[in-house]
Symmetry: C2
Subunit: 373 residues, 2 copies
């Protein structure tokens, strides 16, 4: 059982997985560069923060955290069901959408099974696909949007186990209208689970989301408290689907994984819809301001239905990378897509006026250095 280098510990698949992962946080950039992060605009967090009521509920729950959280998340599911107008049996809760994606790939694929997404779409979904040995197929973006019709055509030929689609989309910020999403839902092969990522759904135009009770046996819709609710660091996401699909997660999830604090915070956040509406207004205003900053610098902001703006730097990926690095060197944390043709974009999360002012200044400096604008 041995060979050079010692015995074969871990599975063959695990040994073949890459040791590096694409998750470089601002803390790591700070540690590597030695520069403090002056504005954190790279992870699509909401600097406007959680509702004060959620913060208070979490502080209270911290003191009670000698006890495990409810593994059935009864109160949170009941609150979500009331808020959304569906049944608790339509909901499963996990440690963020990322955690739920890992469970879903575990549940839905065997090694070698096909999974379909767009080339340049959410990398963490792809990361879990690789971890389970499923095979990722991709369709290119078209006009900086996911190409819905090409995805459907490919799905009909490929019959993948999972088809990933984000509405609104990350990293472009684009969105599709409800009629298109219905066409997607109705057109997906019946043996393919449509993974509809609605992480930014709270920020989307109402015309873009099908009613929440539009469900199918092969449809799971993913939502989160990380974006509009401003609770990225708390780790609560959920999936909505028909009970038979939702129940599958109970077979493999970390039952106590959603912390007592997270459950209490999410319940309190849901109860404060005034705060959510106010945050959405602030995000929308900051998004407009980001567009103005981009245009003032001679760049083109893409339309966005999210809490970030993808800015077209107007040349190739190498130029956008130079701009990105110039902005980072000035202590402003932003990101950019890695693959063409999206790699000519930089992606900037909205922030407070002071954050955006720092970005505007950094962008000007970076463009000057990179020889642009």
């Amino acid at each position: 059982m041995s060979r050079a280098g010692g015995p074969l510990l871990f599975s063959e698949r695990a040994r073949r997985l890459p040791a590096t992962t694409p998750f470089v946080g601002p803390e790591a950039i700070e540690r590597q560069s030695g520069l403090p992060c002056r504005a954190r605009l790279g992870a699509n967090e909401s600097v406007f923060g959680p509702s004060p009521r959620a913060v208070a509920a979490m502080a209270e729950a911290a003191a009670a955290s000698w006890a495990y959280g409810d593994p059935e998340q009864f109160a949170l599911k009941a609150a979500l069901a009331r808020h959304l107008g569906i049944e608790a049996s339509h909901i499963t809760v996990g440690e963020g959408i990322d955690g739920l994606f890992g469970l879903l790939v575990h549940l839905a694929t065997a090694p070698g099974d096909a999974v379909l997404t767009s080339h340049g779409a959410y990398p963490t979904f792809n990361y879990h696909v690789a971890a389970y040995g499923a095979v990722l197929h991709t369709v290119p973006y078209r006009g900086d949007r996911q190409d819905l019709d090409a995805l459907l055509d490919r799905a009909r030929a490929l019959r993948p186990k999972l088809l990933y689609f984000a509405n609104p989309d990350n990293p472009t910020g684009s969105w599709h209208e409800e009629a298109d999403i219905r066409r997607l839902i109705d057109g997906v092969p019946e043996e393919t689970i449509l993974v509809l990522d609605e992480a930014y759904g709270d920020l989307a135009p109402p015309t873009s989301l099908p009613p929440v009770d539009l469900l199918r046996p092969n449809l799971l819709r993913f939502r989160t408290f990380s974006k509009a609710y401003g609770m990225a660091g708390v780790r609560v996401g959920y999936a909505i689907g028909q009970p038979e699909a939702v129940r599958q997660f109970d077979k493999v999830r970390n039952h106590f994984g959603v912390s007592r604090i997270a459950q209490a915070g999410a319940v309190a956040a849901l109860a404060d819809q005034d705060y959510l509406r106010d945050t959405v207004r602030r995000i929308t205003a900051a998004r407009d301001r980001l567009g103005v900053i981009a245009r003032s610098a001679g760049l083109v902001p893409l339309p966005s239905a999210t809490n970030f703006v993808a800015i077209d730097c107007g040349r190739d990926g190498a130029f956008a990378k130079a701009v990105l690095e110039g902005v980072l060197r000035r202590g402003v944390f932003i990101r950019k897509p890695a693959v063409a043709p999206l790699d000519r974009l930089i992606r900037v999360t909205v922030g407070r006026d002071e954050d955006l002012a720092l970005f505007a200044e950094a962008l000007e400096g970076a463009l000057g250095e990179a020889g642009g604008a």
Copy 2:
């Protein structure tokens, strides 16, 4: 691709997994029975709670939780490394030991691979083994302890991918001395990863734990903030091993899964060792008191190096089940092992004086009804 009942969604293995899971929390018991839980002594939590410094740190982190936690958990790993006298590269952090067990089974097994444990040992480990299609083999307990020599003999014949051993043990509370654990570590086949669960290690006699820097390529030691640190609801566990083994977890983990609040709380808890020592003293005193209660009721408490006591009800599993149910009906949440010969035990977590008084009263009533003592 279809058959009666619709298309085949989810994998064949997932469809075969049981829909019910063994995680019934006190909240669910309350909801099902309609009785309020007067004393929560069934989940081996620490009612003495987290350090006040940890609570303060978590409350502060709650307000900052618009931002994702550091995916590399740099500060927490550095604090753990300093505290333990090892390197940060020896540590991986996860959403409790349960979460790390899921990742480990994912990393270390392929469907059909053998995994070895004791019959009646930690069910959540077994749950993850089943979820990944590995095959669980077991060795019986002997004298209410894991049978170390029988496990070693079986491992040499079976060459399993994983061998689970808890020190101290749950559900019996028993422990092994350091020399035995060294024998286990040295005797495990080199292609078997020894999963040494030290969740209760902070409560164990110093003579029972090998030095923390005793590491092997095929050894992973699991520890947690859920037990002595009183932070079960927060979800922080970690594994200690050689860097090559520890690094594997980065290939499959939910990188942002350990919340910002959890990381801040764990760092603060580590810094308050006075509080930990005081908690361990309170747990030890309460454990002695639980022993007195058991003996006063005519039952036999097993020796324990944990924050719970397994009490031998002296007859068969049916009798112990009647005792358990009588105690539960009186609003005192405790648990019992499900499989023989451990099923004649009830398992009671230590508590404050008032919790233990409620248990003593409930036990007396339950024994009276069950016709015992």
